[in-house]
Symmetry: C2
Subunit: 404 residues, 2 copies
Amino acid sequence: MKKIQGGVCAPIGFKANGVHCGIRKNKTKRDLSLIVSDARAAAACVYTQNLVKGAPILVTKKHMADGYASAIVCNSGNANTCNENGEEIAEQMCGLVADAAGISANDVIVASTGVIGQPLSLDPIREGMPSLVSGLSEEGSSLAAQGIMTTDTIPKEIAYSFQLGGKECHIGAIGKGVGMINPNMATMLIFITTDAAISHAMLQKALSADVKDSFNMVSVDGDTSTNDMVAVLANGCAGNEPVIAPGKDFNAFRKALNKVTTYLCRKIAGDGEGATKLLECKVTGAKSKAAARTVAKSVIKSNLFKAAMFGADANWGRVLCAIGYSGADVDITKVSVDFRSRAGELAVCRNGSGIPFSEEEAKKILSEKEIEILIGLDDGSGKATAWGCDLTYEYVKINGDYRT
Amino acid sequence: MKKIQGGVCAPIGFKANGVHCGIRKNKTKRDLSLIVSDARAAAACVYTQNLVKGAPILVTKKHMADGYASAIVCNSGNANTCNENGEEIAEQMCGLVADAAGISANDVIVASTGVIGQPLSLDPIREGMPSLVSGLSEEGSSLAAQGIMTTDTIPKEIAYSFQLGGKECHIGAIGKGVGMINPNMATMLIFITTDAAISHAMLQKALSADVKDSFNMVSVDGDTSTNDMVAVLANGCAGNEPVIAPGKDFNAFRKALNKVTTYLCRKIAGDGEGATKLLECKVTGAKSKAAARTVAKSVIKSNLFKAAMFGADANWGRVLCAIGYSGADVDITKVSVDFRSRAGELAVCRNGSGIPFSEEEAKKILSEKEIEILIGLDDGSGKATAWGCDLTYEYVKINGDYRT
């Protein structure tokens, strides 16, 4: 497997673009993105589990009923959620793409991100569509990545090449965070493309399994968004023997998919609203995989722990506290905690009790940009990793007046 | 029912005191408190549901096995949790109180609050005990309230007089917050005294029922503490016919108890770490009481919503979002949301969609110190109230380096 350039356009047969159409007031911010596959592609999606679902989610679910799609359109600046005419507007967005790109509206995946509860006008989207479509190119991935950003500080894209049955395949993605993010199924916008040939059923199987250990293990603030989704298009242009059942090729595909999703998890957590640090909580020795996930997520979500990490304060008691209220079946008297970063590794808790450590050493380790929290439960073989970020003044500032 | 002065010493036969004994470095901060009843009292407790339980919780559970107690001792500055010798120290604290006050160690309720995982030395407690006990008085409630404070900015005490079977009874309390607070059974330290005569069983029944709608409905930061408890002592000194079964007197007692607990919920939420505003989320029309509680707690816990309230931003979409991921069975298309404060009341959402409102009016209402969020679900008769606070720069500051 090899990291390559090109994001969603790295796979053969995909073009992308992102423009400023006027949904956002700031003209320097792109607010409308499009990804189009030359060939109709097998598609798979996972959606937010929030009962309040953005209108684009409802429309995408309809369009995805047959398991195929050709394009993904996404605007930022407005979530098109909790609006009376939301579904109508989302359908019309798909219609505009279909007309301009010469595909069926039923083959368009639509997504929106931004403020909830403000009507989304179709006018800027209608006006921007010609330049959006005419500007589609194989170099357009980073433009598309910019067009879906909200409070993200950096665009997020990634691509890998990998082998399936002797053929070189490619997989690429763009993604956005970075608030309202909490582990509960597909809590952000992630668009993945691949030229691998794989059936809709196997693609969905791969994606659904993957998110349990990738996007569902990311938390920025404990809020599960109304709008977020992960969508994958697989257009088969690489010419490999189609993957239609479990086996060696399917496993190779899953591995490539996981490379891309894990990369984006780390990027999204590290770019969490106001974040100064990426936190990676690795749990081992749990009674079960589920218990490991529960513990890792509980720690990564604790406001108190997140604030301590912002202050580079080795307050491991808050880790124990979050393990204790996680709901997982844990023997607290067996718990160990270590902090690790580029600056070193430090044991702070053994058998559920504190052990002496150098505060100076701890400060050095916790002042790095990427911190690992290693939790041993000594009670089985379940393990899991969760990603998050510190809680900062900036998070409060960003969210204290998001709408203005 | 009448609000009176005196806190935990308002009921007949209770004395209290709070001193600085040296657990905290800051000599102006009291760090050791004691409440003593002249007569051995029926007692009831509820404890944190965190699997990690402070050593004082474990010792108190043992001492409470017979349903009676005479004293409550509590230190701040150190939680005596996750320490190897924690239970031993907690037992010795009770022993020191017993020796100095001439009661049985088995009749002492012990509590600690502060940093987790740092050994608690008995030395300052031993040194402070003589002055703590000799200074016990009927005017000592506010000193005791000061001695249990951690990051609280104001001491919290309250008392009411009420009638039971024609006799005047009294109920008083002190309490402390204000971080690591999340609705999951007794998530703070609350000590309640009453001179009403009531059996241990009925006292426990009243308390256990009460916390479901009082302390379990308070959230400051979503973190359930390891150490917190609510304890009630009822010494019977008022001379009323003892309450030993459900009925009119039991209901009158529950009402008085709820006056005290609700007052403290509001005080603790309003004094939440770094808080500038008290948030009171009132849900009506839920399918069930449980659904109403779930929705109210989900909204009051949302970081995004809390940050919006800090900024006086009427971002009601975040209320809908938090309802949607609460897990409660809700018909989103029927939801209504209003904001209310001393400055007025404003409808912002009807039938799950936004309605036009004046941003200026919203700003005025949300700039007050106490904000009500009124959520109508139009789906039944379940209702519940939850209390919380806004998320501020100050919360991050307080928790970024709590230990130093």
